[in-house]
């Protein structure tokens, strides 16, 4: 096995797909800079820089996919989807139903997401639950380099719209792009097992909607996605020292949700804790609980999510975003009750 960084894996999988299929194109703001290796290799007709016109170029990406291309439309930060949400909410997501299954929009919306570097809540949201709320959208959130590459291939192969979210603490070139290394004294809590790891020689797509167990355990199921998984594994080590065995499940996709994996983990442990960097209300954490309840399971439940607008100052931000301490505290309470 070779090793790659998270972002390198995405690029490598994209390069493989672009070399194999001339219908795959990339479009978005600054892509000639952000994807300069692909831009140099595949040229400006396949890596297409766009003006700051998200509503237009995402809408165009949807239609281009309807007309035969397989576009990867880049929305630099998922927060900016607010400007262009109509293309997904009312068009890409509706097409298959409205056309009676006769037409689909096979595009990938690629965006960075997440916080932990002090930029404030207009640039640090995750929004995966908010997007997964819309029927017709697939939402993937990789947590390792291998998954990052394989889920990109899966997204490109899917016959409908897929939102592909790369967390900035995993695809850490974003921190660099935004000036990260140009100063001293600033540290980011980057999960080392997420930013770099083993990848296959040749990329094969992962099936969408299939979770994976990251750590075996018997007393408590911790379920989540993305950076939250790395925090959960860290928390599990602390819990182990306290005598609690935590089972960690990485969903990898927010939509479709892996119902079987959720139910198996919950029925095996009787305790469920969801780690979700997205907002707590009306989101993934409640949905996971509902899935287990609908399956008739009885269990204790807790969640560690983002409850409010992410504030700017690092200290406040740290308190608002899920972290290892919060996971350990909430998990421990489940054993005290």
């Amino acid at each position: 096995m070779k090793r790659m960084r998270f972002a390198e894996a995405i690029e490598s999988a994209l390069a493989q797909a672009m070399a194999a299929d001339s219908r795959v194109v990339i479009l978005g703001e600054d892509v000639h800079t952000l994807r300069r290796n692909l831009y140099v290799r595949f040229g400006k007709d396949r890596v297409i820089p766009a003006p700051i016109s998200e509503a237009a170029f995402l809408g165009a990406g949807v239609a281009a996919s309807m007309a035969g291309l397989r576009p990867v439309v880049e929305i630099m930060l998922i927060d900016f989807i607010g400007v262009a949400i109509d293309a997904l909410l009312n068009h890409a997501a509706k097409l298959e139903t409205f056309s009676g299954g006769r037409w689909t929009a096979p595009l990938v919306i690629r965006a960075s997401c997440g916080g932990g570097y002090g930029d404030g809540g207009q640039h640090e949201q995750t929004l995966w639950g908010w997007l997964a709320h819309i029927p017709g959208l697939v939402v993937v959130v990789p947590s390792t380099p291998e998954d990052a590459g394989r889920l990109m291939l899966a997204a490109l192969g899917h016959d409908g719209p897929v939102v592909y979210l790369e967390h900035k603490l995993l695809a850490d070139y974003w921190l660099e792009y935004m000036g990260g290394s140009q100063r001293t004294g600033v540290t980011f809590d980057v999960p080392s097992k997420g930013v770099e790891g083993e990848v296959p020689e040749e990329w094969e797509p992962l099936p969408l909607g299939r979770a994976v167990v990251r750590r075996e355990g018997s007393d408590l199921a911790i379920i989540g996605v993305g950076v939250g998984i790395h925090r959960a594994v860290e928390a599990a080590k602390v819990l182990e020292e306290r005598g609690y065995s935590a089972h960690v499940v990485d969903l990898r996709c927010v939509a479709p949700l892996d119902y079987d994996a959720i139910c198996q983990a919950v029925s095996r442990t009787g305790r469920l804790l969801v780690v979700d960097e997205d907002y707590q209300g009306f989101g993934l954490s409640g949905e996971i609980a509902a899935v287990a309840l609908e399956a008739g399971l009885t269990f204790q439940f807790a969640r560690v999510c983002t409850k409010e607008t992410i504030p700017y100052a690092r200290e406040y931000e740290e308190a608002v975003l899920p972290n290892v301490d919060r996971i350990v505290d909430e998990s421990t309470k489940l054993f005290e009750d």
């Binding site: 003006p51 700051i52 016109s53 640039h123 700017y312 200290e315």
Partner: protein, 349 residues
Amino acid sequence: MRQTSEPDSWLLYELMLRSRLFEEAVCILWQEGAISGEMHLGTGEEGIVAGVVSHLQDGDAMALDHRGTPPTLMRGVDPVSLLREFLGRSDGLCHGRGGHMHLFSPEQLAASSGIVGASGPTAVGFALAGKVLRPGSVAIAFFGEGATNQGMLLESFNLAVAWKLPVIFVCKDNQWAITTESPSVTGGDLLERVRGFGMPAVEVDGWKVDEVWRVASEGIGRARRGGGPSFIRAACIHLEGHFLGDHLVRIARQPAAELAEMSGPLLRSSVSAKGASIKGRVVSLLSIVGLIGKSFRERASGSKDPIAHTRRVLRSDSARLENLEKRVAEDVQQVVERALGDEVSEVAG
């Protein structure tokens, strides 16, 4: 100064210099890690901001973009609370919860946004409220030329004209949308585009603060008298690129180190199999190198620096100039010391 028809160059120079020195301090604090996140400075835009903001009065509003520091400072927001905001302190302007990209000051009706183009609708709404509640007031929208391809801004042009609102749209045009050359992704001529909405549009060199002041005086005067919106396109450069740590600026300043890191993957890509034709790859490669060269030449020239430009004019009275510069430097120094001090209680946990 508001009552006169001629700009006071000394006053404008002082506004600009104060902002520049403040932001230079911000730059150092950011590099030392005392300020988190991204940092978009307005260094290079001061001529535009001073020329416009110096006309504003109580009841006027400002819709700001991600470079809100110069207008906020020039409008009279306490610089200590502003710097403390950047430092993430609970005694900052927004209690450390907004940061430099999300500055809000209700007293000055100043609101900023990190979403490109968002200052358009905001200024229209401020002007709508102003027309009803504060007749004779105006609203300013500051944005870059990169925002002029954003639908909500174009829609705002139309709204302001259709509702005849007192908005002055101020486009700070540096020709760059982050690392994309704006003309390469923009159709037609911007002034013609704006005039197509039925709005007067003028062009000015943004580094000539006196000229900006004059065109702003005309647009703001018209809006106050109920004559509706207008548009100013003011050319400028960004001395620090899009944000601190901008790759193009870094490469321009330390070409060997930065290019060594980048050229490996770039060259590998240009010889990989199964790509575009060799010519296509060379064109793509050259266009990246071209961007870097352009960025470097702009920065090396210095001729479009509004501070340097005005300074040349004021140099004839060197004693007064020296005095002013000394005083402003001392003031900013004090602001920084006070902001970093413990005079007000530390951040509560």
